[in-house]
């Protein structure tokens, strides 16, 4: 079984490019060029230089001693929260802004849920002096106010998405509509491993720096490159894709995904796509998505804006369907509790998205000798108000 994308843009039966003709020239231009550009020595050099000097990579692989004691396993945290802008999202935006420049684009659009991708996009646009417009659901604008302010300070225009559930799905719709209306000068920096081919593959490859580093860092610390498990939360699945990438073909490494169960998988307020989803088409790709039996996309719910998405990237649908990945989901309450636990055991305040990955210990028991690497995808500064409200701090 292969877990890599095939030459038609599919992972197993998932992926492809189901796009209106209006988007074809842009997506096709990208498809024809992305691999060539990504493998150019000058591109690689610029990408890695920026990751090092600007983002602050490599991000530490930190042995979490007290968390390990508590949960009786050897737990390492991959500290994406220490990246510039506070999450893994910037790995992708650095890559895509360099891609956009090489494609001769001078206007950038993006969607954002938690605002982390929006901030990471606004940041690289400021860095390169390129115009930036970020679409964000009206609800998310309210619940992620600090990130809205950051985007504005960085010179981006934040446009509210007012349709549908007014969250990430709708922001993505608006960004796609913008791209249809601006077909020549604009590059769309998608923020997760979703969208029409080649986006899921391109985003995965930019994020794969995470597992590339885990391998040599673990070798230094444990004398071997491969952990027993890698764990990540899944919204669209970019931090997860990056965390899994270099372990996909090694079946000795367990792949664990944690989705957002919201108020409970069957509460009607959930974003646990693999459990609730059926194969269909969302935002240009064939994948698992939450929908009615009539094929209307369902409004998801999660306390975390970054996981509040009714689909999941096609790689993850493939990992789920093929059985390569173990999929779990954590409720709002489990995530918040796990987030607070990390604060108190390790002195790290995680993003609420990330807190879902940390809630894995509610669902799975590891062996004491198991090496478990968790993607600490982002820091919780943006979520302080939510933590304050939830814990009445």
């Amino acid at each position: 079984m292969s877990y890599n994308i095939n030459n038609k843009g599919y992972y197993g039966e998932f992926g492809g490019a189901f796009i209106p003709e209006m988007l074809y020239p842009n997506v096709e231009e990208l498809r024809q060029n992305y691999l060539k550009i990504m493998t150019e020595p000058s591109f690689k050099e610029e990408f890695h230089q920026l990751l090092k000097d600007y983002v602050g990579r490599p991000s530490p692989l930190y042995y979490a001693k007290r968390l390990s004691e508590k949960h009786n396993a050897k737990i390492y945290l991959k500290r994406e929260d220490l990246n510039h802008t506070g999450a893994h999202k910037v790995n992708n935006t650095i890559g895509q802004i360099l891609m956009a420049k090489r494609l001769g684009k001078n206007r950038i659009i993006a969607e954002t849920g938690a605002g982390q991708h929006g901030v990471a996009t606004a940041t690289v646009c400021a860095l390169m002096g390129i115009e930036c417009i970020v679409y964000m659901g009206e609800i998310d604008i309210a619940r992620q106010a600090p990130n809205v302010a950051r985007m504005k300070m960085l010179g981006a225009e934040v446009r509210p998405a007012l349709s549908g559930s007014r969250t990430l799905k709708d922001a993505t719709n608006e960004a796609i509509r913008d791209w249809i209306n601006n077909p020549v000068d604009t590059h769309y920096i998608i923020g997760s491993a979703i969208g029409p081919h080649p986006y899921p593959d391109m985003v995965t490859k930019f994020q794969s720096i995470i597992s590339e580093e885990i391998k040599w860092q673990l070798k230094e610390k444990e004398g071997k490159e491969d952990p027993d498990y890698v764990v990540a939360c899944i919204g669209g699945g970019s931090n997860a894709a990056g965390t899994y990438y270099h372990f996909l073909d090694n079946e000795n490494v367990g792949i664990i995904a944690v989705e957002a169960a919201g108020k409970g998988i069957h509460s009607g307020e959930s974003a646990a796509t693999s459990a609730l989803g059926k194969e269909g088409i969302i935002h240009g790709c064939k994948t698992l998505l939450m929908q009615t039996k009539d094929g209307q996309i369902t409004e998801p719910y999660s306390i975390s804006a970054g996981l509040d998405y009714p689909g999941v990237g096609p790689l993850h649908s493939h990992l789920y369907k093929s059985g390569r990945g173990e999929f779990y989901s954590a409720t709002d309450d489990e995530a918040m509790t796990a987030g607070l636990e990390l604060c108190q055991l390790e002195g790290i305040i995680p993003a609420i998205e990330t807190a879902h990955a940390l809630a894995i210990f509610e669902h799975k028991t590891f062996q004491p000798e198991d090496i478990v690497v968790i993607s600490l995808s982002g820091r919780g500064d943006k979520d302080l108000q939510n933590y304050i409200d939830y814990f009445k701090l």
Partner: protein
């Protein structure tokens, strides 16, 4: 013969019209859930040549605010694929112009592509427009099924579509080509400038095997006349939805008459 093909062949109409076709789009289930049949009948009576029945979708990526809002309202009203077919089951007893269903791919996929096509044939639907079903996927996976049920699938081209791809789309098409007037979602722009005229001319000069029908940005007599100067016909969507919003399903002639006025 498929009604679309027949309609496209009628160059010299008995009523002395120019043979330029007016096609009207509306969203099924809007403004009221039961308006579908009334709207179709009134459109035919008003002299419209072809109708696109919009199957509403929760996330219509290629549509602007007007059609989005009508889709949201239609879904709220309770429109479903099943209900639409139910409403249309006797439509061929009263209506004879070509009927096309326009909808996004996911609802059709969930219904079952073959089942959907079969139902279209039983109902008397002549063609489909599925903006997010790319031509190559159609060609390799679904063409046979569509043809088995006598359905014509219509593809879009835009000002950015390369000549090579237009030729490919022309070769796969069997009916007409839906020519999107400018790079935009539906309803975004009104009026045509030099860029559009140039594009219309360029396509006209390609001598494609399929006639072209222009859509997006047509709202009145002036834009209809401009668009059909080069193309076989034109499609009006958002402007008609706005008319329905303001006037309901009964007064359709007052919208259609001025648009086709100079044709007579």
């Amino acid at each position: 013969m498929n009604r679309i093909i027949q309609k496209l062949k009628e160059d010299n109409l008995p009523d002395g019209k120019t043979g330029k076709l007016l096609s009207i789009y509306f969203t099924a289930g809007y403004p009221n859930i039961d308006d579908t049949v009334t709207i179709i009948q009134n459109l035919e009576k008003s002299g419209v040549d072809m109708i696109e029945i919009g199957l509403p979708f929760s996330d219509p990526l290629a549509d602007g605010p007007t059609i989005q809002a009508s889709s949201t309202a239609a879904l709220k009203n309770g429109m479903t694929t099943e209900l639409l077919f139910e409403q249309l089951k006797d439509i061929r007893q009263t209506v004879s112009i070509p009927l096309i269903i326009m909808g996004y791919f996911n609802p059709i996929l969930q219904y079952g592509v073959e089942e959907f096509c079969k139902k279209c044939k039983e109902t008397g639907i002549d063609g489909l427009i599925i903006p997010d079903l790319p031509v190559d996927v159609y060609h390799s996976e679904y063409k046979e099924t569509f043809e088995k049920y006598g359905l014509i699938n219509v593809f879009l081209i835009t000002p950015q579509t390369s000549d090579e791809r237009i030729r490919y789309i022309d070769s796969v098409s069997d009916g007409f080509i839906y020519m999107v007037s400018s790079a935009s979602t539906t309803g975004a722009k009104t009026g045509f400038g030099d860029t559009q005229t140039e594009y219309f001319e360029r396509i006209a000069n390609m001598n494609l095997k399929n006639p072209q029908i222009v859509g997006f940005g047509i709202s009145n007599n002036e834009t209809f006349t401009q668009a059909t100067k080069y193309a076989k016909g034109a499609i009006i969507g958002s402007a008609f939805i706005k008319h329905l919003t303001n006037n309901g399903a009964e007064t359709i002639a007052s919208f259609v008459n001025p648009i086709i006025a100079t044709e007579n």
